[in-house]
Symmetry: C2
Subunit: 769 residues, 2 copies
């Protein structure tokens, strides 16, 4: 843990007291989003201190020209960057002509931020003595509407505390923004039109190259002690700024409020020539509902989300706050309603990692969305990859593969690769396996097989072809090997026979063949269509099977474990416990070669395989591998502690399970990795959810049934979560003494509890102590 | 071979006919240098076509801010770049007001370039019909004086062929130049002062950060049919340009000539406040000698170099031209007179590979300079590394080493690392071994041991400490291993137990210990001084020996060869012959991962070890390893064919030896690697020399004696070379029928010829058929 200024609270994220050093961290932690757009918690008013400005629109990106030190064939020449979009939140505030700027005040007291996760709003308040010695109170409340997803709302209140003053508000739109991570200082946006119309303003912009048209808009109004003032603002325009000037006399202890509606209308959702019209319509709807109703609807929408997604933890407020923060952020980032979108690793909280989609989606996020939303959401996420299949085949061709072999990109926005480190881009190929696994997982959980003949099988064929071509026969081992890969543990590069990769490769082929046979037998038309479309015949499939059936897996007889890769035992096997603390995190202390030759594991690698394929192994095997690899794992990836937490729980190592849970759930709140300023770790938050539901709750699917083996950390009085299993909603509550199941609806559900079948009736409680 | 427009000629490089597509290639091939400065063969007059401008000053560099895609701890924040220096060659030429520009002429005939290697000058001539239809002949002769190394000379002749005309010359200096490879478009130079003084001009500049002060100067004069005209030019100045304007009436078939002296005076050689004075002095000396005398002295200086360094080949003019081109370029780049300088891989012919010093110097260049110059030159090259020892220790510390362990940088200009690819910078650590080997090689060849106690031993200790710390004990192998390295074959990255690296590591420790013992016994004071300075005691040395004595070497019983690295035999072992030609060069056709998992070898790796330590192995062992590795070697490094040529010759595979010789000697002339535009491969040129002297000549040092086992390719009538062995000059001549040795001086020399001792007397010929 590296910071602890966030106050513990079950439903809110709270900061108290102003500290300029925390501004960038809090900008990340207090980010808000509504699936369609999102923004860092930047101040509305001017701020001359260090800040990282960010406002993002889902699906709007720019292909930045790649810049690397040393070019390698196969790198993408351009790659999609998450774009900082025009600023619509800005409000310059002047009191007797003096700009409010928290970096220039004589004093700041009662500074407080609250992100109310239950209701979905963010509020910042403070009392400041300005440099002209006037004392004011500011309260700013902001939310991005779930009800109207192109709408954001700000209510900015100023109250002079010690004298009558003149307050000036200059709300503005600004398209003169940049990305911090631009490669060549290129312009990403072109401003086409800046327009004001009374208290409405519109800036129309276009992203260069990708031609996304965006209208950034605002509508403003002024209130004195909640009474609307009928004043018209003075409009001003420049090449990239539209502002509206208000001025009002405000007596001591009166509150002047600027209400600002703003947001984006985007050509992905509207005709590009109708963006201003669309914005006017949005404004009209917002104005007709008004602030209070919009806020009420926001609370209701979030209540609806929480109704299904909430996890309660009793007796451990930090753990409770952690899991809600994770669930809240996931829902801010992706709601599953738009098939073109995906779950960016930083969501709407930062620029880092251009591109939005990693294997994180398949490996970590799908279980969360599958269990807490309608199952269509998970299917939409699978279809996202189906829609990118052609690009994945092109991507593989660039690397020398042929005949429809598909390699999904490491990072993508539109199906094209967005990454350029050879050891990752070209070698971290296990991502392909997670994409196949998600199809299996979706079918296992939902029971919906229809996706496989309709779309999934084509993806499985492309992936099987890739593995078949990527493996080669080692005459020396007399088996197939996979050379030169990077596994999930990115602290190894270009290794031979990463066990996880080899295991997934074999499984992918086996699973593709299994489905080919099912579809040949049961879905004749689909089978004919797919075989013809992919130009596949059984003789090719036999070649795949030759590889799968003769795959090599590195193994140590001495330790009776599969080896992470060839040569792992040549390392100097000093466990993390015996590593000097001053050397950690090693990724900030050591040069890359030293990390690579060390035994330290960034995130679950062999154990990730044991997580995916738990039922392929005995609990004794799991224990042996956990006991062998855990001591070398430094968890310097956000995706690591959740898997270890789940496995520790399975193995009854509840202290470890709890410690890993805290680490995953409070990774950003407590800034374990010392980088929260750059944004939050959104995708790993789904892992946090898994560590409760699958770890402590022990939820699995076994023989088409929901199965639970609940455990509870001794620090907790109880916890509960809800699961949507095949359109039946079941709530699981666990205390130190008993386990309760509640079923919604009107149908019974048979589950396994610690291996025994129980049939649960709706509206009755199954309890077990 | 990818181009063949260079005319075969024993002493000159000749191009005939103008082809705009060849301009950049010829700019590289016709480069001139004098050890202190050098320049690409850019046109003096305006040229609006594609060109790569370059003029370079030895030892003047700029630390450019590193730019990489993904930062790794340990990368240098800045690294030295070879700097494009102010242009002093420029002469704008106008004929009746029309600028001469070969990109805009109506016709160009009789275009010819000649680089006369025997005499050290470069001439370009052509007949052009300008766009104003005037026909002129131009002859421009240029050389960088060996006699006055701050001086360059240009004689630029214009002859109107079809009418009387007005010719304008605007010779200029221009400090507004840039580097093509700048990382951030930073300015590298600041112009301090632009000054003209009649027909002399001076621009004083300063490199930013490094504060090298350079005065770029010119002195001009005008001649009509070789008669000096007394006209004063019209000076013009701008912020970065000083020009002098001349105009003259020239009758048809008269020749007007501009004589331009120019060059640089540099603060590394003069007080920075005296640079203009120094330039004036240089001009004065040049003017007093005059063009003809300067040219004569140039011819004499080159005759002196050739007297010692020439290699003749009879009956094969392309082979003859190739070797002379290599010897010429090496002498243009480095003359061994300045201990601060080294042999940059591109010399003065391009910017690529910022930094000037690679392991190429120790592995490839030292033998050439040791044999063709006074032995002090080789010692100076060794001292260059001694002077950087402290920085090498700092460099190792950055990577986590301690206690005086030294890791020399991969690329350097001043001892600091200039490279930033983790797999090279941090992992291509075998370079340390070459630096130790050069000390051994110097002593073996010169018999001068004094360098070791004076300086070399400290270097050996730092290197031994590095290897001791870099190896780790593998409990699984019960031996020491070296994990995560890149060998000389850069088509493998981050491999374990590269045989060459492990072998060198062991040898370095053994050699350091051997010398510690000698110096303890025979150089007591030095021993005390060094042990105290390095804080070394024998108990530490025992730890080194523990590593050296128990080093692991990968070996294949099946093939009876050492393996390039662990896992080599898991590769798909398809030989180069069976690789589709359309796939080559693989570094331009394949993605990096594909190259890495292929068996293809960029340059001699295991065989490099057999080259260094030939007498550690039997000829049968060499043959087995050559036969195993040669078929997988693609020679996509300039440093590869020479080693294979030498070994093929040793093994009597003369066809292969000859083919490799042609490839190494004409690598740039024939542009095998399709990149000559970027500059020449200077360091590999020393390998070409080795492939004649050590390969065909079979020269070795055995038991303190020169030893020869001469062979001759059947394509040649004969060849000869000279060797300076311990201040005795011996000329070796080989024909198809006999072998002759001629000794200069007045002392006898005992040599081995095919294993038998012969004593050669001066001025007599030892012949053997």
């Amino acid at each position: 843990m590296n910071q602890d200024y966030i106050k513990a609270d079950p439903w809110s994220i709270i900061e108290e007291g102003f500290d300029a050093d925390q501004v960038k961290s809090s900008e990340s932690l207090f980010s808000i989003g509504n699936g369609a757009m999102g923004q860092r918690a930047n101040f509305e008013e001017q701020y001359s201190g260090p800040t990282f400005q960010g406002s993002y629109i889902a699906g709007v990106y720019y292909p930045d020209k790649t810049r690397v030190g040393w070019w390698k064939n196969g790198y993408p020449e351009y790659f999609a960057k998450v774009l900082n979009a025009p600023n619509w939140i800005g409000i310059n505030v002047l009191v007797n002509g003096e700009a409010v700027d928290l970096n220039k005040c004589k004093s700041i007291t009662e500074f407080r931020r609250e992100l109310n996760m239950k209701e979905g709003w963010y509020r910042r308040s403070f009392v400041a003595i300005l440099s002209n010695s006037i004392k004011i109170q500011v309260v700013s409340t902001r939310f991005l509407s779930l009800h109207i997803d192109e709408l954001g709302v700000i209510k900015y209140d100023v109250t002079p505390l010690d004298q009558n003053v003149t307050v000036g508000f200059d709300p503005y739109l600004d398209s003169g923004i940049t990305n911090e991570d631009t490669n060549w200082e290129d312009k990403f946006w072109e401003t086409i039109d800046v327009k004001s119309d009374g208290n409405q303003s519109f800036i129309t912009t276009r992203t260069l190259k990708t031609n996304f048209y965006v209208c950034t808009y605002m509508h403003t109004s002024l209130f004195l002690d909640d009474e609307k003032l009928s004043v018209a603002p003075v409009g001003e325009r420049s090449a990239t700024i539209a502002s509206q000037g208000y001025e009002a006399q405000v007596n001591q202890n009166q509150t002047i409020s600027l209400l600002k509606y703003g947001g984006y209308t985007v050509s992905t959702n509207h005709d590009k020539y109708e963006l201003i019209t669309a914005a006017r319509n949005t404004i009209k709807e917002a104005v007709s509902l008004g602030y209070q109703v919009l806020l009420q609807k926001q609370k209701e929408a979030w209540a609806h989300i929480w109704e299904m997604a909430d996890i309660t933890i009793d007796g451990d407020v930090k753990a409770q706050q952690g899991i809600r923060f994770n669930i809240f952020q996931l829902n801010q980032t992706y709601l599953g309603t738009d098939a073109r979108l995906n779950i960016g690793p930083k969501g709407f909280t930062g620029e880092k990692y251009g591109g939005s989609t990693y294997w994180d989606t398949e490996a970590y996020c799908i279980p969360f969305y599958m269990s807490t939303k309608d199952q269509q959401v998970a299917r939409t996420l699978l279809e996202y990859r189906y829609n990118h299949l052609e690009k994945a085949i092109e991507n593989a061709e660039k690397l020398g593969f042929k005949n429809g072999a598909a390699l999904y990109p490491m990072v993508t926005m539109n199906g094209e690769e967005c990454h350029n480190e050879w050891e990752i881009t070209f070698e971290e190929i296990h991502r392909n396996g997670a994409i196949a696994f998600a199809i299996f997982n979706y079918h296992r959980y939902t029971g919906d097989y229809s996706y496989v003949p309709e779309k999934g099988l084509e993806v499985l064929i492309g992936i099987a072809r890739f593995w078949h071509q990527r493996a080669n026969f080692s005459t020396s081992k007399n088996q197939y090997v996979i050379l030169g890969v990077t596994g999930p543990n990115e602290y190894e590069n270009n290794v031979n026979n990463n066990w996880y990769t080899n295991y997934l490769a074999k499984w992918c082929i086996d699973y593709a063949v299994e489905n080919l046979k099912i579809i040949e037998a049961d879905y004749h038309d689909d089978f004919e269509r797919i075989m013809s479309k992919t130009d596949l015949d059984w003789s090719e499939v036999e070649l795949w099977q030759e590889v799968a059936n003769n795959m090599y897996f590195p193994y140590s007889k001495e330790h009776d474990v599969y080896l992470q890769q060839d040569g792992f035992l040549d390392k100097e096997l000093i466990t993390v416990v015996d590593l000097d603390k001053s050397q950690r995190p090693i990724n900030q202390k050591w040069s890359w070669d030293r990390i690579l030759r060390s035994p330290y594991i960034k995130q679950a690698d062999t154990l990730q395989g044991f997580y995916f394929f738990e039922d392929h192994f005995t609990k004794e095997e799991l224990k042996r591998h956990f006991d062998f690899y855990e001591p070398f794992t430094v968890h310097e990836s956000s995706l690591s502690p959740c898997v270890h937490s789940i496995q520790a729980a399975v193995l009854g190592k509840m202290d470890q399970a709890y410690a890993f849970y805290l680490r995953t759930s409070r990774l950003d709140l407590d800034d374990y990795n010392k980088e929260v300023e750059e944004g939050l770790h959104i995708t790993s938050m789904a892992g946090t959810w898994m560590s409760i539901v699958e770890g402590f709750g022990g939820m699995r699917i076994k023989n088409d049934m929901l199965s639970f083996e609940p455990r509870i950390p001794e620090e907790w009085e109880g916890y509960s979560f809800k699961i949507n299993f095949r359109n039946k909603i079941i709530k699981v509550s666990v205390t130190q003494n008993d386990i309760n199941f509640e079923l919604e609806g009107d149908q019974v559900l048979t589950i396994l509890l610690n291996g025994e079948k129980h049939t649960i009736s709706p509206q009755t409680l199954l309890s077990q102590d």
